[in-house]
Amino acid sequence: MTKTVLELNGVSKIFPNGKKVKSVLSDISMHVQEGEFVSLIGPSGSGKSTLFRLIGGLEKPTAGEIRIEGGLVRGERGRVAYMPQQASLMPWLSVSRNIELALEIAGMERKQARQLALEWLERIGLAGERDAYPHTLSGGMQQRISFLRALLSPQQLMLLDEPFGALDALTRLHMQTWLLSLWEADRRSVLFVTHSIEEALLLSDRILVLSAAPATVVREIKVPFARPRSEELWKDPLFNELKLDIYSLLSPVQSPDPMK
């Protein structure tokens, strides 16, 4: 039987906003199983970042409960591995030191962290950059380091917050297939936020479509494609059908323009 790594039950978040209140999340229930890749997709400003802050323990939910590996999360931090949209590497640390820092904060011993970092940099072909400073690397390279840092962290659950959002289209495509190959070899539990429908379809086991604020889950889509997957998927008629399906859910106007 598979374990549930992340579980949200009726989670709501309301922020006070002057005299009024602003409801950002409304009654969200969802889960991520062990080794499952789940994407959240929704219009901008639909509270996905707030949801991540709740799961990461930076904020407490107004109502409902969040459980990570069975344990209740109400402001407890450090239960997740995290990859933000901006690489967020310390500019004064070399590539390998940046990875080690994340592992050490997660409680790993210094020596073990170093060994693991070097071993994996070698494996993904970035051994030559281990002593480079982040600003000397391209955006795509920085995001690879940022992903590796999250992947090597000992936490079971990985939160990926629109990790390729700031990259150019071509780099983004390369990064998607790169991440796919790494993840399929070592299946972690992933909650992935994206604005790209193709990206969600290519990578995920399940996609949760969120509404505009206050966000709630309007549809759950099981992605039927077998793994391992590749960009060949784009030729699949079902891929395009699902894409249009999700697009119409996200579209504020009635007739979706498939060219966009």
């Binding site: 931090r77 901006q86 004064w92 640390l93 904060i105 997660a106 400073y133 600003h135 000397t136």
Partner: protein, 258 residues
């Protein structure tokens, strides 16, 4: 490329300096200006040579008090900045008091410290600490508050504790501010040490200059000034050098940005 670049940085100020000295020498010798009014560079050089052993003795004393005051003052500034950063509300409550310590003229402060602590090392040390802590404390506080918001969020998401946040992010992120504070403190420290020596001491460049000027030995005053300038430049250069070694990533970042 690098050595050529450095040469381009050095020769213009060096040429200006040499030119000024030359004009100075020519003016003093052609107009026969008396040595007690304005000694020529040559006369100052000769004076330095003659007074060298005594000059060194006084310089050594000044170096000692400067380094003591600089060390204690900047350490105090660093610790205070960290405390004000850590304790909620402390910054707002104590900031006006910090500024206040800088509003009392050194001359008044020097007299008061002598009244309270006598003529020993203590009043001089306190004076230097008061001068040096402020630039370090203020620039550190600014640096600590300017930690990159996205890096803070990242560190908190992965569960960094308050002390990990400080040592792994806020402190390394504010090092360039810290060095700015240290450089300002270094410049003020030497001058203040000279002043501190004049309020109650029998050794040090401050005393040396005071005695020389009382005796109308103007070339000796200039010899003292040269030592003070050299000392200031040395301390400043030392800190700038440590800064360059510490912030190597930033030097490269700036170079990459050009």
């Amino acid at each position: 490329m690098a050595s050529k670049g450095k040469f381009h940085l050095i020769w213009p100020p060096a040429a200006v300096m040499a030119g000024l000295l030359l004009i100075w020498q020519i003016v003093t010798s052609t107009f026969n200006i008396e040595e007690w009014i304005l000694p020529s560079p040559y006369a100052i050089g000769t004076e330095m040579q003659e007074a060298w052993p005594r000059l060194m003795e006084h310089t050594a004393a000044t170096i000692r008090i400067t380094l003591l005051g600089f060390g204690a003052g900047t350490a105090a500034g660093f610790v205070l900045a960290a405390l004000l950063h850590f304790i909620p509300g402390a910054r707002t409550a104590l900031y006006p008091l910090l500024v206040l310590t800088q509003n009392i003229p050194l001359i008044v402060l020097g007299d008061l410290l002598v009244i309270w602590f006598g003529f020993g090392l203590m009043p001089k040390l306190i004076l230097l600490v008061l001068v040096c802590f402020f630039p370090v404390c203020v620039s550190m506080l600014t640096g600590l508050r300017q930690a990159d918001e996205k890096l803070v969020t990242y560190m908190r998401m992965i569960g960094a504790s308050r002390s990990q946040l400080f040592w792994r992010l806020e402190l390394p992120g504010s090092l360039s501010h810290l060095f700015t504070g240290l450089k300002i403190a270094a410049s003020y420290c030497v001058i203040s040490a000279i002043y501190a020596e004049t309020i109650g001491s029998n050794v040090g460049l401050g005393v040396f200059i005071r005695l020389a000027s009382n005796g109308w030995e103007t070339s000796r005053v200039f010899a003292g000034i040269i030592m003070i300038v050299a000392l200031s430049l040395l301390l400043f250069g030392l800190i700038a050098g440590i800064e360059r070694l510490t912030l190597r990533w930033q030097v490269r970042e700036e170079a990459a940005g050009q």
